[in-house]
């Protein structure tokens, strides 16, 4: 009984179907003729012999059917018959087929789109061999007693208590790498993004590039091979300055060098330091940090002191700043816990030998995290949004399924007679169920294919929406087997879901009543009860989606109305990043001041503001401030946001100065540091007192005093959704550190038109300085609310769709009910019921359905809306206005949908209706 022979026999039978049928006929014919011949020799006439042979053989067709079944063909024959039949009925009912396939396609398409995104964000792994073997090093420490105070990188609360981070100081990394070599191959990397991007000068043209610092063993441990040229090796990373080389990513190779092979050996300048391009990484490789987007260039850590000094001595020697990311692969045979214990021990030693540990100080403890997704920022940032979107589209699909179930149910009522006839002719109930299920599965397959195409076309819609207008390196969602598997699974599940109830309903058909002409009438009670439940379900699902749409719409309205505290119209923003190799220390302030003066005289410019943080851009700088005499302590109560700005900042941004003055020329050269404070800051540091001319103390290398010379009105800082935080504005020209600044240029007309003139103004100061991230202040604010707007747009679309589907459902049910109750209504009217009473009766029935659906939906919405809390602004999840409006909209829509059938009922002519039957 080998499976192989069965498969061979089945497939040859399937392939040579007609051959197999001919064979079978010939074989049976031979049998009959041979038997007949034998019978003739015993003296029968030819005719009699044949008759007797056939009689002895039995029912030829039944035996043939058995032969086919023996060969495993029966199932496929039935399937083919079912499919042919289904296609024929669908063609006869193009309206039904279109609605069913369309609502499925929308549901499955939406699910596919969102899942493609989820797949990219939640499941994608680094494009290297065996990504699952990678471990990202992290550490945890106490909040207050930790020894690490200076950090560049992300950190967050740890699982149980304290906080955790993945950043290490470079000396600690070096110690870990050599001492833990027995248990793991460790390598280091650090992406340079946002404000830390580098300026690349290629053939005389300057632009900003994202970069990743990598250790010499980075590529060998990741096991990545170059596409062309060679990759960074240990020799390039031996000591500071030893490797003036870069590797470029495939994406940058395409976009900047047109995939020319001459790029290997090309000299370019990074922040004015000449480096040589030595190779290109393969196309799927995105670096160790991000799974989504590759950095433009990769350079060895040895070049950090020259290319990216960030105003300090070499970070490679810095024992205080923790900034290096460390990843590794465990040695074969070493367990996770062994490796962690060894690394933890060495981390402890390395920290003790490089840092001063105060009494009771808490030394970080090492742990190993999954490294297959890099730092997994996308998963952490957008995981929640993606889950909410998944929930939203799941409701849409569910609604689509209920809709089709309702349509099928209505159809199965009209097909009752046909099915009864088939049952009477001997079809098994299982055959009937199978036939109806085949129909729903065919529908779901067609809808699924359409949905997958829809999902494929719209796969980049959401990443596009969520990415910033001025940044082209967004997430690319891509199709893979997991998406296909998901969509096929969803289609199949949908088909079974909406097909099962109608299928069993059909098979439960009562033969007797079904064949009789009035079959529909007798079992109408049960039929319409199922229909009523489905309509209630539709209304409640719609209620959930409409409520979600309302919440999100109100959120974006609130966001748009939110007072930011400054005038965001007609402001053009751009960044200037003076390379430190040319503008060390305070030279950058002189450069920025010169640019400020040049930009001010560009025609059309009304004012120029400069700030170290762009407003409403999700960027925060803060520092600890003390009333002079207070002891130093870490804690939230001393922290204030800071922003270094120019003298015109307040006038240009239109933030009123309430008391005192803004900065002026006389402040610039002095060492007497002056600051302007907002109202929230005044309330925090000087409650009930006048803060003007008071002093605060902050710590740089030692204590530094700042004098408050002005109080300004509160303005929002990093986030539209937060109240204006305490903010202390410093004067940028008093800073001695190199700065990356944002220019905010106010213009009379459309600010975008200024860009070329501004570019020229900056170029006239330094031709190698590119304008970075040119955008309007409005675009900047919108970028921080993209998620909310996306949710509002999708939820509104889905809500309208849901409302339409539910209305059609109510209409269909009530129209069916009126049509099948013509007789009853006619009798009522003949007995004296007024048209208005009939109208009210039908409307009342509609209303009962609607109220039931709305009640269930409202309860469900209240439950679901809690999950949206973090996405809302200016209202609570159980916002009574939204809920009330949703209830009103749904009741209104349902009554409207029920009104047409009700009016038809009211116009029934009693004489005709009673005579009709």
């Amino acid at each position: 009984m080998s499976l192989r022979s069965r498969l061979r026999s089945w497939s040859s039978a399937m392939r040579g179907r007609s051959g197999m049928e001919n064979d079978m006929d010939a074989e049976l014919r031979f049998h009959l003729e041979a038997y007949a011949a034998d019978l003739r020799t015993s003296g029968l006439t030819e005719e009699e012999a044949y008759r007797k042979a056939r009689l002895a053989f039995g029912n030829i067709e039944a035996h043939k059917q058995d032969v086919r079944q023996s060969r495993g063909l029966r199932f496929w024959d039935d399937l083919r018959a079912d499919l042919t039949y289904t296609l024929r009925t669908l063609r006869k009912n193009p309206g039904f087929a279109t609605i069913a396939i369309l609502s499925l396609a929308l549901g499955i398409g939406a699910n596919t789109t969102i899942f493609t995104l989820a797949n990219t964000i939640l499941f994608d792994k680094l494009g290297v061999p065996h990504p699952d073997g990678l471990r990202l090093l992290s550490w945890t420490a106490d909040d207050d007693k930790g020894v690490v105070h200076s950090m560049w990188g992300s950190y967050g609360p740890a699982h149980n208590h304290g906080f955790s981070s993945t950043s290490f100081s470079y000396p600690v990394y070096l110690a870990l790498r050599t001492q833990s070599a027995g248990v793991a191959d460790l390598f280091a990397f650090k992406p340079l993004e946002g404000n830390r991007r580098l300026t690349a000068t290629i053939d005389g043209a300057a632009e900003v590039v994202t970069a990743e610092l990598v250790s010499g063993n980075y590529y060998s441990v990741l096991n990545v091979k170059p596409q062309i040229g060679r990759l960074i090796a240990n020799a390039d990373d031996a000591r500071a300055g030893s490797g003036p080389v870069i590797v470029i990513s495939d994406r940058y190779w395409s976009s900047r060098f047109g995939r020319s092979h001459d790029v290997v050996g090309k000299q370019i300048a990074l922040n004015r330091i000449p480096v040589t391009v030595i190779g290109v990484t393969p196309s799927g490789f995105t670096g160790a940090s991000s799974v989504q987007v590759a950095s433009d260039v990769f350079l060895p850590f040895s070049m950090q002191p020259m290319v990216a000094p960030f105003g300090r001595a070499s970070l490679l020697e810095d024992k205080e700043l923790w900034w290096t990311l460390v990843m590794g692969r465990l040695k074969p045979g070493v367990t996770e816990e062994q490796a962690r214990a060894v690394i933890d021990l060495h981390l402890h030693q390395a920290v003790r030998s490089t840092m001063k540990i105060p009494a009771g100080g808490d030394v970080p403890r090492a742990s190993l995290e999954r490294g297959s997704q890099g730092e997994n920022f996308a998963g952490k940032d957008q995981g929640q949004s993606v889950r909410i979107l998944m929930g939203l589209v799941a409701f849409v699909l569910l609604l689509g399924c209920v809709n089709i179930a309702n349509l099928l149910l209505a159809r199965s009522a009209t097909r009752k007679r046909e099915i009864s006839v088939r049952l009477a002719l001997g079809a098994g109930r299982f055959r009937i169920i199978r036939q109806v299920l085949t129909e729903s599965l065919l529908l779901s397959a067609l809808g699924g294919i359409a949905g997958m195409l829809l999902g494929y076309w719209t796969r980049n819609f959401i990443p596009h929406f969520l990415s910033k207008a001025w940044d082209t390196t967004g997430i690319q969602a891509h199709f893979n087997w997991r998406v296909l598997l998901f969509s096929s699974g969803v289609s199949l599940a949908a088909g079974v879901l909406f097909g099962l109830a109608p299928a069993f309903n059909s098979a439960r058909n009562d033969l007797n009543t079904g064949v009789k002409d009035r079959g529909i009438r007798t079992s109408q009670g049960r039929k319409s009860r199922a229909g009523q439940l489905l309509v209630i379900l539709q209304i409640s699902l719609s209620m959930i989606l409409v409520t979600a749409a309302g919440l999100f719409l109100r959120t974006i309205i609130n966001l748009a109305k939110a007072d930011v505290g400054f005038d965001s119209s007609n402001l053009l923003l751009f960044q200037v990043q003076p390379p430190e190799s040319r503008y060390a220390g305070a030279k950058s302030q002189r450069l920025l001041h010169e640019i400020e003066e040049r930009v001010r005289i560009v025609p059309g410019v009304e004012g120029v503001a400069i700030s170290s943080e762009s407003l409403i851009a999700h960027g925060i700088s803060n520092e600890l401030f003390f009333i002079p005499g207070q002891p130093f302590a870490r804690g939230e109560e001393h922290s204030s946001n800071i922003n270094d700005v120019n003298a015109d900042f307040f006038a240009t941004m239109r933030i009123p100065i309430l008391a005192g003055r803004t900065f002026n020329q006389t402040d610039a050269p002095t060492k007497n540091l002056v600051v302007v404070m907002n109202q929230a800051g005044a309330k925090k540091f000087f409650p009930g007192q006048n803060p003007l001319r008071r002093q605060l103390e902050k710590y740089d290398d030692g204590p530094v005093r700042v004098t408050i010379i002005g109080i300004c009105k509160d303005a929002k800082y990093d986030d539209l959704r937060q109240q204006p935080p305490p903010t202390i504005y410093g004067f940028y020209r008093q800073s001695q550190e190199p700065m990356q600044m944002t220019f905010e240029v106010r213009s009379r007309e459309l600010p975008q038109q200024l860009t070329p003139a501004l570019r020229n103004a900056v170029r006239s100061v330094d031709k190698d300085l590119p304008l970075v991230d040119v955008r309007t202040q409005r675009e900047q604010i919108d970028a921080t609310t993209a998620e909310q707007r996306l949710f509002a747009a999708l939820a509104t679309g889905f809500g309208i769709l849901a409302l339409a589907i539910a209305s059609v459902g109510v209409y269909g049910l009530m129209a069916f009910s009126v049509a099948s109750r013509r007789n009853e209504i006619g009798i009522r009217m003949a007995l004296g019921a007024q048209a208005r009473q009939v109208l009210r009766m039908i409307l009342r029935e509609t209303g009962v359905l609607a109220i039931a659906g709305v009640a269930v939906g409202a309860a469900a919405s209240l439950g679901c809306a809690k999950l949206l809390r973090s996405m809302l602004f200016g209202l609570t999840p159980n916002d009574p206005l939204t809920l009330g409006l949703s209830v009103a909209i749904l009741l209104g829509a349902a009554l409207l949908a029920g009104f047409l059938p009700a009016r038809r009922a009211a116009r029934i002519d009693p004489l005709e209706a009673v005579r009709h039957d």
Partner: protein
């Protein structure tokens, strides 16, 4: 002529395999061979022979090919495969065991209990 017996449930496959094991046969030939071996005391439903043949071929116990019959007609001949031979052997053995067992039970007398 003694009365014809109906075929016991499930024995047709075994009889077909046995008949074919003595030499390749066409369907009608198998019928005749079984009846001959049974001394005409057994009745095989002619039509049910073919689903059984198809099943055995589907399972890989039989192989078929078209050949010439004794009176020069095209006929489909069945041959035992190695798998079929094994199947015949195990089915024969289990048949014997079962027959002995049943015979033993039926021979039982009150004294033996």
């Amino acid at each position: 002529m003694p009365k014809e017996l109906d075929l016991l449930q499930g024995t047709l496959d075994m009889l077909i395999l046995k008949a074919v094991s003595l030499g390749p046969l066409h369907g009608y030939g198998i019928l005749l061979r079984i009846q001959q071996l049974a001394g005409e005391r057994i009745e095989v439903q002619q039509g049910s022979l073919y689903p059984a043949l198809a099943r055995l071929e589907h399972n890989g116990s039989l192989q078929s090919e078209w050949g010439e019959s004794e009176n020069n007609r095209k006929a489909k001949y069945y041959r035992l495969t190695a798998a079929g031979r094994r199947q015949l052997k195990t089915e024969t053995e289990s048949w014997h065991r079962m027959a002995d067992l049943i015979a033993g039970i039926l021979k039982a007398t009150p004294e033996e209990l």
